[in-house]
């Protein structure tokens, strides 16, 4: 394997990285801990490492590229759709393997995230991706992270083969409703996607039971928001269903982003990026804080989350009768609902209060969100006097957010 990177390959890398950047998933966590040992290369630590951050604040953890950005499909939101005029390129299996190994050796990355436009046939495309993973593992003893974005239309046996080598397989749902899919991704079929997810779930569960290796870090998906008129509530409803039915590890939300060569059926203006982070916060409440979609949605208006404040605060402001909660006696479930208190802070509070009656300054040492939590809390030295009735509470707990550089104004 050569120790240099020629100009042609460099140019391809730019094109095929650019083409992959709209995929939100990048996590390299969840793989079983392992190491390549004396002759192999690489390890996974279980947690994943971000090796750099780009100026959009997102982390670079994996070499995230497309095998090719040629595509026979014509999904409106996608820069790689067949009717777009972007520059095209195509990696060989060996080229992807070489880039992954050489980047990995220099400690640039945790592994590979490989996706692809669909060329020739879904099976052909899936097979090439599978061959990359297989070559990395078998020929190079590569023990780093591998995530393959599977093609839902590919044959089940190919996906099964891919699961032998990859840490995670994912299938992008892309759009939360069948109707939007039909309009914006005419060749895609929601039923096919969901069937593939169902099969994947079954395979993963079986393999776990039989202690075989098959996509040990589970499956995930991505949903694009803002390219259609689906409400946040409907998006979250769809996610809740996905977690439940297909045992997904994560649903990634990707605010539809302006792309070069936009299609005519797209909205002219992309949604505010804040929408994406509110969805992630809501998703988090869904998975870790025992909130229901209905509760979260009730914090906003007309099925849309409040862009100005986080969904937990929004919920609290609409349920003031539940507060204040006493830090020294309140139950865990109630403390978890206090804006500004994360699960870790709540655990630390519960641990600390066995030793003393907590005052506000103690809470400040246990949580970084005290300023927001204050009006909702009772402590040994603090009782918010009818603060929860104040009309200006919202303004009180939110500081004027420094305006993010507005590019769409």
């Amino acid at each position: 394997m050569g120790a240099t990177l020629d100009e042609k390959l460099k140019a391809k890398l730019r094109i095929l990285a650019d083409a992959a950047k709209y995929d939100a998933s990048c996590a390299s966590s969840g793989a079983p801990k392992r190491s390549g040992g004396m002759t192999g290369l690489g390890s996974t630590t279980g947690a994943g490492i971000c090796h750099a951050y780009t100026p959009d604040g997102r982390c670079v953890s994996l070499l995230k590229i497309l095998l090719t950005n040629y595509c026979l499909f014509d999904c409106a939101y996608c820069v790689n759709r067949r009717s777009s005029n972007v520059r095209r390129a195509r990696f060989t299996v060996d080229e992807v393997v070489k880039l992954t190994i050489e980047f990995y050796k220099r400690n640039y990355i945790e592994g590979l995230f490989l996706s692809s436009g669909i060329i020739r046939s879904p099976d052909h495309t899936m097979e090439e991706m599978m061959r990359v993973a297989k070559a990395l593992r078998r020929d190079h003893g590569f023990a780093g992270y591998i995530h393959l974005k599977t093609i839902p239309e590919a044959s089940p046996w190919l996906i099964e083969q891919a699961g032998l080598w990859a840490d995670r397989l994912s299938i992008n749902l892309e759009l939360p409703s069948q109707r939007s899919l039909k309009r914006l991704a005419p060749e895609k079929d929601g039923t096919t996607i969901r069937t593939a997810m169902g099969q994947m779930r079954e395979r993963i569960a079986e393999a776990r039971e039989e202690k075989r290796r098959f996509s040990p870090a589970g499956q995930s998906t991505q949903v694009i928001v803002g390219a259609d008129d689906t409400t946040d509530e409907a998006v979250l409803q769809s996610s809740a269903g996905l977690y439940e039915r297909y045992d997904l590890k994560r649903v990634y939300y990707s605010a539809f982003s302006p792309i070069p060569e936009p299609s005519r059926v797209l909205p002219v203006k992309p949604p505010p990026m804040q929408r994406e982070s509110r969805l992630y916060q809501a998703d988090w409440l869904l998975r870790h804080y025992g909130f229901t979609v209905a509760e979260i949605a009730a914090g906003g208006e007309g099925g849309m989350l409040d862009l100005g404040i986080d969904p937990k605060l929004a919920w609290a402001l609409k349920n003031r009768d539940r507060f204040p909660v006493d830090v020294n006696t309140g139950e865990r479930e109630l403390l978890l609902r206090v804006p500004g208190l994360g699960a870790r802070a709540v655990d630390r509070i519960i641990q600390a209060r066995r030793h003393r009656r907590l005052r506000l300054e103690d809470v400040a040492r246990l949580s970084s969100g005290l300023r927001r939590a204050r009006p909702f809390l009772i402590a040994a030295d603090h009782r918010p006097v009818r603060l929860t009735d104040r009309l200006d509470l919202r303004r009180l707990v939110t500081s004027p957010v420094p305006q993010q550089m507005s590019l769409f104004a």
């Binding site: 390959l9 730019r14 650019d18 190491s35 604040g57 400690n107 020739r120 083969q161 302006p258 060569e261």
Partner: protein, 475 residues
Amino acid sequence: MTGHRVQLDEGADPSGFRLAVRRLLAAAVPPDEVAWTIGRGSDLFGSDLPEEAPPVPLPRALHQLVEPVVCHSDPERYALLYTLTWRVRHGEPALLQDPSDPLVHRLERMRKAIRRDVHKMHAFLRFRRTEDPNGAERFVAWFEPEHHILDAAAPFFVDRFRSMAWSILTPSGSRHWDGRSLLRGPPATRADAPEGDAFEAGWRGYYESVFNPARVNPGVMRGEMPKKYWRNMPEAQAIPHLIRSAPARVRDMLEQEAAMPAKRNPDKAVASMFDQEPRTLEELNRIIAASEPLVPGATRAVLGEGPIGAAIALVGEQPGDQEDLQGHPFVGPAGQLLDQVMTEAAVDRGRVYITNAVKHFKFEQRGKRRIHQKPTAGEVKHYRWWLMRELDFVRPELTVALGVTALLALAGKALPIGKNRGEMMFEDRPGFVTVHPSYLLRLPDEAAKRQAYDAYLADFRRMRRMVERIEAASA
């Protein structure tokens, strides 16, 4: 006033600290009578302390705090740790369990800072490739940690890059890995590290390309990747330009007219690409043969054999040792028994297709022997897709499950043989259920064998009659 001065090594000196703690505690010296200084050598000055002192039992949580905190660059670290130790020993044994105590909180934060610094070193260190005169490659990195964490961070690199030779150089020391052991080296300077690397430009190009200018948010980036690390990260050189050019790039994108598709609408190509199913048995077999075995063991896939349009398809469990070596199904003792029973039952051997539910021999190597392992339900299901396609191509009049694994594959669920022996529909395929021939071979006594063989023969005669019936009906 201060009665004792403790001198510890530069950097992290956990053993010097532990020794000092032992001696101080043995002489009951309270924290405010100790001055901790950092220089060369572990020494206690102005003291009449014992030279040696027995180890003191301390809570585990305290050890777990000392280990990282001694790596901190705060000169007060030892004083704080000793104060904590003193308090734990003098009336506050549960002190560490109260995260709201100010001292515990401060040390906790120091521990966190160390963890973060170690993590950042794991993340932001960049190797450059060098070659020694013999052409052997070594990867060398220059890194400037904030705390004394070189030893805390090194095991990660050993684990990850065990098969490579590498060096990590820092201003306070270096570590060198040769594939077997980790050697300590002296402090280094940036000039000791190589200048560049052949993959750096490509990496920078990658980094630039993954940035989406429509989402520029440098605050978040700086929070996660503080500027102090940028100097040694080749990709970070691109940051200022990426930020500066972002608004213009987005404006360009938004102003761009929705472009007319450049290509003709490839409806045909799209339609034909869904048509990817194998079209013939040979095509299917090629896929099976090229696929990775899903079961451990297996040298090759053993494919079905027999004519298309066979009267009977016999489906067994999986190839065995002999079949795996020869590449044909049912060539071992079980196959011979099948031949015999078919001959006696007057089943035309030339009109039988014979295959297995699982296409690979699953075994466990024990010494020289390869011990057959029963496939799991998940494995059977995986191979089921292939079996069903295969039967679609062969189109037998009658499909026969030989044994419980074949029955699982054909029925799609686990069913016992005993109750189901005889005719059965497999979805819309006329089918028949009987035992696997190796069941007969395993029976211990002759009488039982004889009896089982007669029953088996009766089964095959019934199959023949079923086929005749089906053929008569369709004729």
